[in-house]
């Protein structure tokens, strides 16, 4: 069998842990192939991505890269919005963008995925999408972190700016409302909600975190702002996004809880704040997260009701 490539299909360098995982888990790829065939069969139907429980379950098992753009556009409702507003994206370029905002975007373009071997060709598009979005949504404007979200979507959509714009808009405005605004009100509220969920489910872990003196918000700001891009391994973060586009915001809470639950024994063993930070920093190299099938299975197995989140959100909505 051929050795795994050191560069993944998205242009990112694989870490040693991922290389080892690939070497040792051939059945993981048998699964992938099977799944690809099932999707091909689905795609050949007359109305392949008709919203249904079957489709939802298909998506939970992961969307193949070549169908991701199509499935994301369909599930998020962006496809319909593009049809309704076919010129919206283009028209945004008729206006002069605000210099100060454009300058802050320009700073981040070369800093986005500098090690990705394909990303150079997407840099102009990234600039276009972020500037257009900032002008379209002045309340969010540009928030650092959106460069990673838009960058990942561009890679998945092979540089399709319009699709990227609409998918970014969906994630920022619908899935993570007020996370990226100037007040970051939604971000602070939802991190309080996750903290409460952890307190209820894992009181000991929460106490340990308090004892070490690292508030959850310090760890989780990046998780929430980037929607796990640059946090989880690439393939795993895209699997999370498959579910985010298909099932919505609840997946953010499920994913956060899953990460903490998986790391709970390690957190309890940690002796100081340094080891703790190291533990969270290494999520992208940890085989428990690299194995995207197992991780997603765990995410979906968690018992978490939309209602529980809604009640907690209401309790914390007055903060800040």
């Amino acid at each position: 069998m051929a050795q795994a490539s050191e560069i993944d299909e998205y242009g990112f360098k694989r870490c040693q842990e991922e290389m080892r995982f690939i070497e040792e888990n051939k059945d993981f790829f048998t699964k992938l192939t099977k799944q690809l065939m099932a999707w091909e069969a689905l795609n050949n139907r007359t109305n392949p991505f008709f919203k249904s429980t079957m489709l939802k379950n298909f998506i939970r098992k992961g969307v193949p890269l070549n169908l991701r753009k199509q499935v994301w556009l369909k599930m998020s409702g962006s496809q319909r919005l593009i049809q309704l507003h076919p010129n919206l994206y283009e028209d945004l370029f008729r206006n002069q963008f605000q210099k100060e905002i454009v300058d802050s975007i320009k700073i981040d373009i070369p800093r986005t995925f500098p090690d990705n071997i394909y990303f150079d060709k997407y840099k102009v598009s990234l600039y276009n999408v972020l500037s257009a979005f900032a002008s379209h949504n002045p309340i969010v404007s540009y928030c650092q972190g959106l460069n990673y979200i838009a960058g990942m979507i561009l890679i998945v959509c092979a540089g399709d700016e319009e699709a990227t714009f609409w998918l970014l808009k969906h994630l920022v405005e619908i899935v993570s409302p007020e996370y990226h605004t100037k007040t970051m009100k939604g971000l602070k509220r939802d991190i309080e909600v996750v903290t409460e969920l952890i307190k209820i489910r894992l009181p000991v872990v929460n106490e340990k975190m308090n004892e070490l003196g690292l508030p959850w918000i310090v760890i989780m700001t990046k998780w929430f702002i980037c929607l796990f891009a640059e946090v989880l391994p690439i393939e795993t973060s895209l699997r999370v996004w498959d579910a985010l586009f298909s099932e919505g915001y609840k997946i953010i809470f499920r994913t956060s809880l899953a990460i903490v639950l998986i790391l709970k024994d390690d957190i309890m063993k940690v002796e100081d704040i340094n080891e703790l930070a190291e533990l969270f920093r290494n999520i992208s190299k940890d085989v428990r997260f690299i194995n995207s099938h197992e991780f997603m299975k765990f995410v979906f197995s968690l018992k978490l009701k939309r209602r529980e989140i809604q009640v907690l959100r209401r309790n914390y909505s007055s903060i800040n």
Binding site: S104, I107, D108, P110, R111, T112, P114, C143, Q144, G145, N147, Y148, T181, K182, T183, M184, T195, N210, L212, G213, L214, P215, W216, I217, V218, M220, T221, K222, I225, C226, E230, I273, N274, A277, N320
Partner: protein, 213 residues
């Protein structure tokens, strides 16, 4: 890989009984893209990346420098520079014993922003916080927009340590951390601010002195 002695100072053989270990919390603040993360990366790992990824929220690292008999361990909190992350900043500088406020010598606005950070720290952070001002990207002095003298004068008037640094060439990077380490109180029982840990919702706790023999 991290070489704990790289921070400068005098190397001590292990097992010297008089060695003390002090731990301090240090926070980096400053406008976006002035080089906060690059300074940390240079100091902690001796590396430099031309395009350092932007920090979202905050990053946390540690490094130790040695001053005579004392090992000074820095808990470094590197923060996001964009203005909207500002409301999270108090959580990072709360309980910090030291801060490096960074600006880019090519960017006057970033110097103005640095002064705002200094004011905020003087008003809101621990009263005995040691603040250093770093004029970074000193290797790009050809396109300088902030005078050395102007910054030096500002620093003197406000009781700040001051150096122009370059994360790229390593100039003054270890030196600024070392200067801070020297200025921090290392005697036992020097005050209640020692080793205060940040914490989310509750009030600060103290956990004894910074030093242990």
């Amino acid at each position: 890989m991290a070489n704990n002695q790289r921070g400068g100072g005098i190397q001590r053989p292990n097992g010297a009984t008089q060695n003390k270990i002090c731990q301090f919390k240090l926070v980096l603040l400053g406008e976006s893209a002035v080089g906060k993360s690059s300074l940390v990366l240079r100091f902690v790992k001796g590396q430099f990346h031309e395009y350092q990824e932007s920090t979202i929220g905050a990053a946390f690292l540690t490094q130790t420098v040695h001053i005579e008999e004392t090992a000074v361990k820095f808990e470094i909190w590197d923060t996001a520079g964009q203005e909207r992350y500002h409301s999270l900043a108090p959580m990072y500088y709360r309980g910090a014993q030291a801060a490096i406020v960074v600006y880019d010598i090519q960017n006057q606005d970033s110097f103005v922003r640095a002064q705002t950070w200094v004011k905020e720290l003087q008003r809101q952070a621990s009263p005995n916080i040691v603040i250093a001002l770093a004029g970074n990207k000193a290797d790009l002095a050809a396109s300088r927009a902030v005078d050395y003298e102007e910054a030096k004068q500002y620093a003197d008037e406000n009781g700040l340590l001051f150096m122009e640094t370059s994360a790229k060439t390593a100039v003054n990077v270890n030196e600024i951390f070392l200067a801070i380490a020297k200025k921090l109180p290392k005697n036992e029982g020097t005050g209640p601010q020692q080793n205060i840990r940040p914490s989310g919702n509750e009030t600060n706790r103290t956990s004894g002195n910074c030093c242990s023999k």
